[in-house]
Amino acid sequence: MTPWYQDPVQFIAEWLRGVLLGWGMPPSGVELVLTVLGAGTIALLAMLWVVFLIWYERKLIGRIQDRFGPNRVGPWGIFQPIADMLKIFTKEYITPEGVDRVPYNLAPILAVASVLLIWAVIPFTMTVMGVNLNVGIVYIIASGGLGVLGIILAGWSSNNKYALLGGFRAVAQLVSYEVPMVVSLLIPVILAGSLGVNDIVMAQRIPYLLSAPVAALIFFITSMAETGRSPFDLTEAESEIVAGFNIEYSGLKFGMFYVAEFLHAFTVSLLFATLFLGGWRGPLAEQVPLLGFVYLVVKTFVVYFVVILFRGSLPRFRIDQMMDLNWKLLTPLALVSLVVSALVAKPLEEMPLAQTLALLVSNGIVLILFIEGTGKKVQRKREIVGKPRPLAVPHPEEQQPAQSTGG
């Protein structure tokens, strides 16, 4: 029996196993029950966590915008998201006529499920995780693809040409930004030698933020574009194409898209902290697993803070600027940095410190060359199609009466 302080989850699992076997359940049934309980716990906790995230984000956005954020409902407004949840649970589902029922109802479920699935492979401490899938990275990319499918189902099944248009644009954005994301994910895999997420965390003696800064930067930017956060939220912002693909959704179905977006932003921060900042690693994390969890939470919240900061301070991109940024800057940058990292890391494999330093320097050179070289080309010059019109000047005779009546 593992002592409870060393691995509380394993302790509970072993105790439950003993209890169920004592009741006479067959061993395979016991494993199934434990699996369901473990999966259900993670999924339920993730969905309940969104309530806290909504409060955190609203307070932080409020402070960035020089106001308080919610502070009426409970001390510091902590019951505000609960009030919001109660409201949205009791809103009517207005289903427009002519929708295709099954895809229409499936789309919000798929959107949330695709984000929840990522939580199954993230290691919270050295031994606490859903599964240590040995193809964790490919699994994460695959569940991102499910989310894209949900959006196209939503846009198409709503029987609304604006939803369809918004859905197409959203899918074009998501699909384009997935290219540099998957290429940049190859670099931690090269450095760690495995596709499993816990293996990547365990291989990070030195956090990969230092060995692969360009990959971290690209992963961060493309993940924010994947979640549809500002500054990339053109396709579903409230003032653009009448809110995009989720026009015809109301009540909790719309709430589910909202939940999916917030949870996705936090999941992306969690992934960044795991893959590039070392996850649960830190001093004494192997001996005291709870400390590993604390490290992970601190790192994730640092990244989430930066994500919210981006949302609150940057203006929205236009769609052609977004696509130019992706195809003309991020994708070539990701490919070139992959090539450079692969070539630089190989000769220096035995000396990890020298390898990290060489990778850092070469990544820096690649980044500077790219920003100087293609960064200028990405900003498009628009031709002037008309002469600027002169400003209106008041007629000389009209100035007299204005001066006499002005006080």
Binding site: T90, S176, L252
Partner: protein, 118 residues
Amino acid sequence: MLSEWLYVGVFFLIAMFLPAAAIFIAGILAPKKPNPIKSSTYECGIETVGPAWIQFKAQYYIYTLVFLVFDVEVVLLFPWAVAYHQLPLFAVVEGVIFILILLGGLLYAWRKRALEWL
């Protein structure tokens, strides 16, 4: 290995079931008063004009296609990346050649102005 995939399968079912249950509960709690005006399709407050299809731009197709090509490329590179520590230098160079050929394809697409949003 099989137990891991069983976990993933169970997790998928639970992840689909939880939002479905929430939506179902809200469906019970919420009022249901459909009327023809509420159920009509939204078109900025005016009456709908024409059936719900739009001119599909070929640019969407090109973006998805280029994504598919790079997705397959990355799938072929994943085993190369996993075996990186056990590979000699010339094998790494072979992978680099693979990436450079695809980078050439991307530059061709850029020059032919196929990647612009128009």
